[in-house]
């Protein structure tokens, strides 16, 4: 079997089909239309509405499963890009995204904001609000991308995209050049500039990578939406979708096209930390202990404002606590490694250079495997326990739409696996993630602190163990009271 999925018989043939992405986008656009329509006009009962069921059970769950099992498939099939492309036929963008905003900081704030808004408004329980969120998302993507060129919304703003980019570093597939020698002899650079004819004669113009990932220098999956534009644009058929070791790109300190060096990107390192803390906070918010903490914070602040209480909790959970624990781990690593600091070229020196933030930026990526598996354990739980509810909900939607049981009477016995059955799987995912994080931390320590890799990695391994214990405690919480309303 070839390591290049694009050369596989059925899957490869489909992916190389020029309209493969459009087909996937159209399918997800139809789903989005059903979500919006039923959310706005269907019953406002979350478990009986396609908006809430498809968005908060199936979309989230399938997204993380798909990314970790294969690649960034949901960015590939993103229907917002399809709508945006249509809008660009009416209004072409001419502006470049401001240079000072070409980083992940804005997306980081938006990502945290989405998590906060989800909890504040109990979006999982509100079909109409969920539909409005989806519409708002489409509107934002179109509004940004009809003004700014390239994939500005995807690369610098989209919260789901950032989630996918980080998770995709753990995927077993990545797009890369098949043969670097072919790239060295290339003079047209169609993979990034676009091709006047596409990879086959007679085809119309094929755009190059909108996220500015130049194929010969592309390393890993960060910022790759799996659009496969490079595959279709390359006149030498030199782009591959290759099998690889998941997570290993997190150890790669080399310069990446469109990204730079990961150990120097504080914004992406912060995104990695938010990816992990967000996983824990998002899971914690659904538990009974979260209700008790809410009440305690409300009493302490003498407030009945849920927004203020949640803001304090999110500020602590997403910012203060993560910054604190990462800073402590980095400080310990720095202290134990003061006599073994890295130099360019692999040599070492014996005096301190690089502050705590530098050390944290190097090691933050080690937390991604654990974070990905906590998301998988959480969203996978909802997906597996509610997998088949889409059947009775679709049957209900059909009744709502046409007034009779066009798809049969709602079969509410169709639910999914029992929570007790899923629990061992959740534990397994978290242990797997912890092992991945320990392995990545050790590899980073070996890369940057070859004199004392064990000592340099130790604080991060301790941190991973602590976070793993927290994650296990979270998923062991009983389902009782999840979704109950806030009360002071």
């Amino acid at each position: 079997v070839s390591a290049d999925v694009l050369r596989w018989p059925v899957v490869g043939r489909f992916l190389r089909w020029r309209h493969a992405r459009t087909a996937a986008q159209l399918a997800l656009l139809l789903v989005a239309a059903a979500v919006v329509f039923h959310g706005l006009f269907g019953p406002q009962v979350a478990p009986a509405n396609l908006a809430t069921v498809l968005t908060w059970v199936h979309y989230r769950g399938l997204l993380i499963v798909a990314v970790l099992a294969s690649a960034n498939l949901f960015c590939m099939g993103c229907p917002m890009v399809l709508v945006r492309d249509a809008a660009r036929r009416v209004h072409s963008p001419h502006r470049s995204w401001p240079r000072r905003l070409r980083n992940k900081w804005a997306a980081l704030v938006l990502f945290a904001g989405v998590l906060f808004v989800y909890e504040l408004f109990d979006l999982w329980a509100l079909p109409r609000a969920t539909a409005m969120l989806v519409l708002g998302y489409f509107a934002a993507a179109v509004a940004i991308d009809v003004v700014f060129t390239g994939a500005t919304f995807c690369k610098y703003l989209c919260p789901v995209g950032q989630f996918n980019f980080v998770a995709a570093t753990m995927a077993p597939l990545e797009v890369r050049a098949r043969d670097q020698g072919v790239c060295r002899s290339c003079r047209t650079f169609d993979c990034i500039a676009g091709s006047p004819t596409g990879s086959q004669a007679g085809q119309p113009r094929q755009r190059g990578c909108e996220l500015r990932l130049f194929l010969p220098l592309k390393r890993g999956s960060m910022d790759c939406t799996l659009c496969l534009d490079c595959v279709h644009a390359c006149p030498h058929d030199n782009a591959a979708l290759s099998l690889r070791v998941p997570g290993l790109e997190l150890v790669d300190a080399g310069r990446r096209s469109g990204v730079g060096r990961l150990p120097e990107r504080r914004d992406i390192a912060a995104l990695a930390v938010l990816f992990v803390s967000g996983a824990l906070v998002n899971a914690f918010a659904m538990t009974d202990p979260a209700r008790r903490v809410e009440s305690w914070v409300a009493e302490s602040l003498r407030t009945s404002s849920e927004g203020l209480v949640l803001a304090v909790m999110f500020l602590f959970g997403l910012v203060i606590a993560p910054v604190l624990v990462v800073a402590v781990a980095a400080a310990v690593t720095r202290r134990v490694s003061l006599h073994d600091l890295p130099l360019e070229g692999g040599s070492h020196r014996n005096v301190g250079s690089g502050n705590i933030a530098d050390v944290a930026t190097r090691f933050a990526y080690a937390l991604i495997p654990l974070g990905a598996c906590v998301w998988l354990a959480h969203y996978g739980f909802h997906l597996l326990t509610g997998l088949f509810t889409v059947v009775p909900v679709a049957q209900t939607a059909a009744i709502d739409a046409v007034g009779w049981a066009a798809l049969g009477e709602p079969a509410w016995r169709w639910v999914g696996l029992q929570p007790g059955t899923v629990f061992p799987l959740q534990l397994g995912f978290i242990v797997l993630g912890a092992m991945g994080s320990v392995a990545i931390a050790s590899r980073i320590a070996s890369r940057d602190y070859s004199g004392r890799p064990g000592a340099a990695a130790a604080p991060w391994i301790v941190l991973v163990v602590v976070l793993t214990a927290v994650a296990m405690w979270l998923i062991a919480q009983p389902m009782a009271l999840r979704g109950a309303s806030f009360a002071v």
Partner: protein
């Protein structure tokens, strides 16, 4: 629909309540084939579905076991005697966890 359920149920125990079905002229509606679906607020959770049996003219009784604590939304579904379909949210129940 006039729902007579209390606001709090104890999860894990049987909850028995009744509702009255009336038409636009406030006359009791008899002979309907109905069931009550109790849904947790969070989508994807297993609902509790129970048939509603008519005890006296237009008054239907339902017995259901809410399987966990939390907010349950109750939805009435079924068909009237003349074949018309009923699908209506009829209220909510806050269930305390047992124990």
């Amino acid at each position: 629909v006039e729902w007579t359920a209390g606001e709090v149920a104890i999860s894990g125990t049987s909850m028995r309540d009744a509702f009255t079905l009336r038409d636009a002229a406030q006359r009791p509606v008899t002979g309907a084939m109905l069931r009550v679906e109790a849904h947790m607020d969070h989508p994807g959770m297993a609902p509790v579905v129970a048939p509603a049996r008519e005890r006296v003219e237009g008054v239907y009784e339902v017995q259901m076991d809410l399987t966990m604590g939390g907010q349950w939304t109750l939805r009435l579904t079924g068909t009237l005697a003349d074949g018309r379909r009923v699908q209506q949210e009829i209220g909510s129940v806050a269930a305390r966890p047992s124990g």
